[in-house]
Amino acid sequence: MEISDKELETALQDFKNSIHAWSDAAYHRPRTLAAEVRHRSWRVALGWALGCFLVAGTVSGGIFERNHRLELARTAAAQRSADLQRQLHDQQAAKQTDEGLLADVDTDVSREVPSALEPLAQMMNDDETK
């Protein structure tokens, strides 16, 4: 809806008067500089405290995380070493077992001679006895 020039003029006049009233009141208001400074200094102190707390938290968190990872790596390395030793031990035990078994087999096989050579084998045993 279109407004008349008169209405526009009135509105602009009101606007101007309003700003003048506001400006006059603000211009002559009592200053509260000391309180403001104190508020700001508290805000600054609070900001610094919060900042320091965050930095300390971040740093200690980082250190904790690093130590935790180192601990995990150490545990994993010890576990791996123990596994390796166990595997080695098992392998050695198995090897010894295999070697003994083979030796027994060899002895058994060597002792099982055909019946035609039995007298000769007997003689060998007798010689060993002597």
Binding site: L8, D14, I19, D24
Partner: protein, 191 residues
């Protein structure tokens, strides 16, 4: 020779004193007006005070170079406009440093009325009109707002506005026309 030097020194001191007195007169005369313009532009009392201080500090530093080609008020207004521009530019660049603002909203700014309105109804109507004009002013571009406030709050001539803003008179007229059209639309739309 020595007497001549002493006279020169005295003359310089007298000229400096006269300049200082002249500047003090300018401050006394124009400070409320500069403050009002900056308050209307920023809607922030603290910021307007700070910028007013900066404006007169800058004016004091450059007072010797002021040649009086324009009026002192126009010269001061130009400094104020530049300071305001710099402030908003810096604020945009450093938004993370200045998150807090004391600027009041349109409704709060509209609370202020001159004591001319007699009845309650008149006051309410005036407040409504002022609020509508504030809403329109808020939506204007920075340049339109500056031109509008200089014309309708500070009641400056087109020539003075053009000098202070560094625009041509034609451009000032165009900005003013768009600003008034916006205000007219706001006032007409809310009825």
């Amino acid at each position: 020779m020595a007497a001549g030097t002493a006279l020169d020194a005295m003359a310089i001191t007298t000229a400096e004193d006269a300049a200082a007195q002249e500047f003090a007169r300018v401050v006394q005369k124009h400070r409320p007006q500069i403050f009002r313009f900056l308050l209307a532009s920023t809607r922030d009392v603290d910021l307007a005070e700070t910028l007013t201080q900066e404006c007169f500090l800058k004016a004091h530093r450059n007072w010797a170079s002021f040649r009086g080609e324009s009026s002192a008020m126009t010269w001061l207004m130009r400094i104020a406009i530049n300071l305001q521009k710099d402030h908003w530019r810096n604020r945009r660049m450093q938004f993370w440093r200045t998150t807090r603002t004391n600027g009041v909203d349109v409704d709060e700014a509209s609370e202020w009325l001159s004591s001319g309105e007699s009845s309650v109804e008149q006051k309410l109507l005036a407040r409504e009109r002022v609020s509508q004009v504030w809403t329109a002013v808020k939506s204007l571009s920075e340049r339109q707002r500056t031109v509008f406030l200089m014309r309708y709050v500070e009641e400056q001539d087109l020539n003075e506005i053009a000098t202070a803003t560094g625009l041509s008179e034609g451009t000032v007229k165009a900005h003013l026309s768009r600003a008034v059209a916006r205000v007219r639309l706001e006032l007409g739309g809310k009825r």
